[in-house]
Amino acid sequence: MEQKAEEIRNPERSLALMVKEETGENVFACYQCLKCTAGCPMSFAMDYPPNQIIRMVQLGLKEELLNSKAIWICSSCYTCSVRCPNDIHIAHVIDFLRNLAIKEKVKTAEENVVLFHEMFLQSVSKYGRAYEAQFLSKYEMKTGKLIKNMVSGLKMFLKGRMAILPQKVKKMDEIKKIFSGSEVPK
């Protein structure tokens, strides 16, 4: 009831209510103390630091958030979440925003980060485990970094730190099922 009234008063706020519903996080508890941003290791490279992300969720600035670099640059280190005096799990809210950007097929501001996640997961969907040598070279081919990173890749390989052959889960039908309805591109 209270939620409905809130939505009617201010439709923009439905993003915050959606966050509350999906993640259980109450962004309205934030009083902009900036503790999250002060401890964030990635804020130096973000367009919107974590305190602003929370404010923007309050204001319903969905498009700006889903198009931001910040949501993809967050390393999920959880520093903000354990320090927030109002117990807002900020990193969980950021995960929600990332998931939403993927679901709504937004052209993300950090395409390589997303591509990396997706190629990693495609590898898992195929073998049940990550096959580093293959997905890394595929990723680097696609992003044009193959030559640049060949030397370090080769060094890892020579050090025995890159498996030549994939390890495969036996019950691949179970893995396929887990991936069946997922947002990972085929």
Partner: protein, 293 residues
């Protein structure tokens, strides 16, 4: 002391961090603890799945937990901090949120998770289940004043709303184990700072900034090496030094050890010299100068 535990190696320990798998198994053998690998385990989704699709990120670890439960395991050791974190978060969410549990159960069937597994990282297991006196009682070699900084990274102690086995932001368990074995811990401010491990490929330029800060501080406080438990942290801090040296004109040469390697030495395990070849920054000179190999 525990006699056995379930074991989830995760992808890294079978590829880029084989040396952690090897040294951990040897160490636990020495301690008399049997590691029971989860049969036909799958990747936990690591730092990727939760960014893309939450239900996928819960279902992948849930299948592993279900398989561990079916084997009758009570505890599961996950040495990689990313795996550890994903297993713990999955367990916590599934036991508290019946709606998500229902969705996940559908995807992982015929497996099913009841929520009975206790997930452990290496330090939790060593400190609370093995205990420091039991480890010290097995000491065969003094670590001869090896000066180290302990690097815990993000998720070993920092998982929101989950009780940590050690202080969240100023943990001391690595120091507390290695000190009575003769190594010399150096206090420093970056114990739990993020190394950017998950971005080492896709955002290398940012990771170089983070790691330059961490390694510079380790160097500045006079550490001869860094000690960690996590394969992602180890790989990242180890691999990045050469790049930082090139790009930032530095001269870092700080070996990054796994706790299992130093504990193994102290407990008298004699590894062939091959084990040190996995390291990008060669630790052999340092170990020789301290008469540890």
């Amino acid at each position: 002391m525990i006699q056995e535990t379930g074991y989830y190696p995760g992808c890294s320990l079978h590829a880029s961090s084989k040396n952690l798998d090897i040294t951990l198994k040897d160490l636990f053998k020495k301690l008399g603890i049997k590691l029971n690998e989860i049969p036909d385990w799958n990747c936990c989704g690591a730092s990727a799945a939760h960014c893309i699709d939450e239900i996928l990120a819960l279902s992948l670890p849930a299948r592993d937990l279900a398989r561990a439960e079916k084997e009758g395991f009570k505890t599961v050791l996950a040495p990689c901090s990313a795996c550890y974190q994903r297993l713990v978060v999955t367990h916590e969410i599934l036991v508290k949120d019946p709606k998500k549990m229902e969705k996940v159960e559908k995807l992982i069937s015929p497996n099913s998770y009841k929520g009975t597994i206790v997930i452990k990282n290496i330090m939790d297991l060593l400190i609370n289940d093995v205990t420091i006196p039991e480890i010290v009682a097995r000491k065969e070699k003094d670590l001869n004043g090896l000066k180290f900084v302990a690097y815990y990274g993000c998720w070993l102690t920092r998982i929101p709303r989950v009780k940590s086995f050690d202080s969240v932001e100023n943990p001391v368990s690595i120091e507390n184990i290695l000190k009575p074995l003769g190594a010399e811990p150096i206090d420093w401010p970056y114990k739990t700072d993020c190394c950017g491990g998950s971005f080492s490929i896709s955002k290398e330029e940012l990771v170089i900034e983070l790691d330059d800060k961490i390694i510079s501080m380790a160097d500045k406080v006079g550490a001869e090496c860094i000690v960690t438990t996590c394969p992602l942290c180890q790989t990242n801090l180890d691999v990045m030094q050469e790049k930082i040296n090139k790009i930032k004109g530095k001269d870092f040469n700080l070996p990054v050890f796994y706790i299992t390697e130093l504990l193994g030495i102290a407990l008298g395990i004699k590894w062939s010299s091959k084990i040190w070849r996995y390291h990008m920054v060669d630790p052999v000179d340092l170990l020789k100068s301290k008469r540890l190999i």
